[in-house]
């Protein structure tokens, strides 16, 4: 839709000579008019491109350079007694990549990231779809409902993660209170506790994080689906229900296929988002300001977290962190592309 609107005006108007239009009546000189036509457009777009290239694109390229260096920050004390930051750097080729790819820390982080991504995205998008179809009715107070489901989305991610971290406390947390209503008890070694010790095992830590992630993003995705649902022509439904298709059948046979582009879009969005997962696992730690993340065994430490700890933790090593960023970047691109292709393929059969 946007692809052809990009080209259409250019094609139509390319023939008319711009200078001829402005010159006769304009009070300005023709030099100014030419300048206005040929240079000013670039002036208008240049702030965006300069800033975006300098602080959006270039850093990604630059971190590739860093990833080929052994890049360690040291803080020697200067003559005045203050510490000075110096970088000792030397080219080490692919050593950082090699070290990354053989390190269990990295693989574990990758497993955590992907596990959390897949296990959170599937229920999240399904719930969003159901929520969107609940909203896609003639509702009283519909603005209130639409705005209301955005509360998790606008909540600062740190704040909500902190609140959830208390919900999943071992003693006196609300999650365990809910479990206690169902008399859930769990055995850890030789001690039995009511509810769960959420941070003790990988699966329960993941479950807690998945709840946090889905709490935050389901409403937002539902709004995206709702937007797509409302642009489906109404007569399709009329025909379907005359043929006897019920509401549930209509959802799966009409709505879902018709909003397929949006579903692909949200899959790509949540891929990109989940693979950068950071705030939730950081705040889920008992004390996020010490340790290396994900509890003592790093059961829920994600790649973004590992990059942070590698670059800005106790042993600062930017080269290593840069290599991890690039491996993650390549994976993000591959997974996003594969996702798009796969969703297309699966949806295309319908």
């Amino acid at each position: 839709m946007s692809a052809n609107s990009v080209e259409a005006p250019a094609a139509e108007t390319a023939g008319t000579d711009d200078a001829a239009v402005t010159r006769p009546r304009g009070p300005k000189s023709s030099i100014w008019a030419r300048f206005d036509h040929s240079v000013v457009p670039y002036v208008l777009i240049s702030p965006f491109f300069i800033l975006f290239v300098a602080f959006g694109i270039f850093p990604i390229v630059y971190s590739a350079l860093i990833s080929f260096q052994s890049y360690r920050v040291e803080y020697p004390v200067g003559r005045d007694g203050l510490s000075i930051n110096t970088f000792t750097e030397r080219w080490v080729g692919l050593e950082n990549y090699q070290r990354t790819l053989v390190s269990w820390d990295f693989w574990q982080a990758l497993i955590n990231t992907f596990g959390l991504f897949i296990l959170s995205a599937a229920p999240q998008l399904l719930l969003a779809l159901i929520l969107a179809s609940l909203l896609n009715r003639r509702l009283r107070m519909q603005t209130m409902f639409r705005v209301g489901i955005l509360v998790p989305y606008i909540t600062p991610i740190v704040a909500s993660s902190i609140v959830f971290a208390t919900f999943f406390a071992r003693e006196g947390g609300q999650a365990n209170w809910i479990l206690s209503l169902f008399h859930v008890q769990t055995q850890y070694g030789n001690r039995t506790i009511d509810g769960l010790d959420w941070r003790a095992e990988r699966w329960s830590a993941w479950l807690a994080l998945i709840i946090m992630i889905d709490w935050k993003w389901t409403g937002y995705n539902a709004l995206l689906y709702l937007a797509a649902m409302q642009s489906i022509p109404k007569d399709v439904y009329e025909a379907a229900s005359l043929d006897g298709a019920g509401a549930w059948r209509q959802l799966w046979s009409i709505t879902v296929p018709m909003i397929r582009p949006m579903i692909i879009f949200t899959v790509v969005l949540s891929t990109i988002g989940s693979l950068q997962l950071f705030a939730e696992p950081v705040q889920f730690d008992d004390d996020p300001t010490s340790g290396n993340g994900g509890g003592s065994q790093h059961l829920w430490r994600t790649v973004a977290q590992l990059i942070w700890h590698t670059g800005w933790g106790n042993k600062t090593n930017f080269g290593f962190a840069g290599a991890m960023s690039w491996i993650l970047f390549v994976i993000v691109v591959l997974v996003a592309a594969m996702n798009g292709w796969l969703s297309n393929k699966i949806g295309g059969r319908k």
Binding site: G56, L65, R138, T155, A159, I162, V163, W312, S325
Partner: protein
């Protein structure tokens, strides 16, 4: 084009007399049943509960945070006490939060949001205007570049960003958290689509014939028309800037330009952190956004839905 998707469900069009037509209604013309309302209310409750509870906890001391049985859900008298401590007040059995600089961070964040919103609106609207209505060489190619970059997560360049900022001497300054956020690919994209739809070429053409310069057209015609879209983009940029976390943690943590994200992070430091204080901070950090949602929720919803359909 999609302005009516939000608040016009077009209920008048549903013919009530004809039974066959009543059967064949699209979902959005079908009145919601009570199950529908109950489910939606439960969803709203789940969405709002953590924030509400953090608000309640900001009015109690530590002993109400972790309780057996039903959580405390009514406000108490200790908000002022917590506020006093979070700003570095000294009380027995509470650690000192003086070094967190909570209030200063809160104010910094407001400043950052103001700068980021102003920059985003200006830079994205002029670029969007150029892409929508001006003719220049390489326009389409450059615009495709914008679209492609929409999907690149900037966080991946965090190591490079840090090094660049370090070389510029910007770490720990206001520049580090504002300059990179002054423009957004989504902003340019959204502005271009809006201008393209909202302003007919003829109006600009006739202003041109009357001798208006490109910039005069921008201030005289484009900006006034653009006002609703500017509101939407500004709100989304504000939410994004306020919620920035990983970059703020790397770039301004512990400095005098620390923003609210790292401040919350630092509230949890220490051997005996007080959860009631951390929750107080979380609630205060969320509060401005709740106000924003109450005041301008309709526009935020529209921005998200519009942006989605146009993509």
């Amino acid at each position: 084009m999609s302005a009516n998707t939000l608040d016009a469900p077009a209920p008048e069009r549903a013919p009530k007399a004809n039974k066959a037509a009543l059967l064949g209604r699209s979902p959005q013309d079908t009145p919601a049943g009570w199950v529908n309302y109950i489910l939606l209310s439960v969803v709203l409750l789940i969405g709002f509960w953590p924030i509400y509870w953090a608000g309640i906890m900001s009015t109690w001391k530590e002993d109400k945070v972790f309780v057996e049985g039903f959580p405390t859900w009514l406000p108490g008298p200790y908000f002022k006490f917590n506020w006093h401590i979070i700003n570095g007040g000294v009380e027995p059995s509470y650690p000192s939060y003086d070094s967190v600089n909570f209030l200063r961070s809160f104010i910094n964040s407001i400043l950052v949001v103001a700068i980021v919103v102003a920059g985003t609106l200006f830079f994205c609207s002029i670029a969007g205007y150029a892409f929508a209505k001006l003719r220049f060489k390489g326009r389409d190619a450059l615009f495709y570049f914008v679209i492609i970059t929409l999907t690149i997560p900037a966080q991946l360049g965090i190591v490079g960003s840090y090094q660049i900022m370090e070389k510029l001497g910007w770490i720990g300054t206001l520049y580090a958290v504002t300059v990179p956020a002054l423009v957004s690919a989504f902003g340019v994209f959204y502005m271009r689509q809006y201008i393209e739809d909202a302003i007919p070429d003829e109006i600009i053409e006739s202003a041109r014939v009357d001798g208006a310069s490109t910039f005069r057209v921008y201030t005289g015609i484009v900006l006034p028309t653009l006002r609703p879209a500017l509101g939407v983009l500004g709100l989304l940029a504000a939410v994004g800037a306020w919620n920035e976390y990983i970059w703020a943690l790397v770039a301004v943590n512990g400095s005098s330009w620390q923003t609210i994200g790292p401040a919350l992070h630092n509230l949890r430091a220490g051997s005996t952190p007080k959860t009631s204080i951390v929750l107080t901070g979380s609630f205060i950090a969320t509060f401005p956004l709740i106000v924003l949602l109450v005041v301008a929720g309709r526009q935020i919803v529209r921005g998200i839905m519009d942006g989605a359909v146009k993509a």
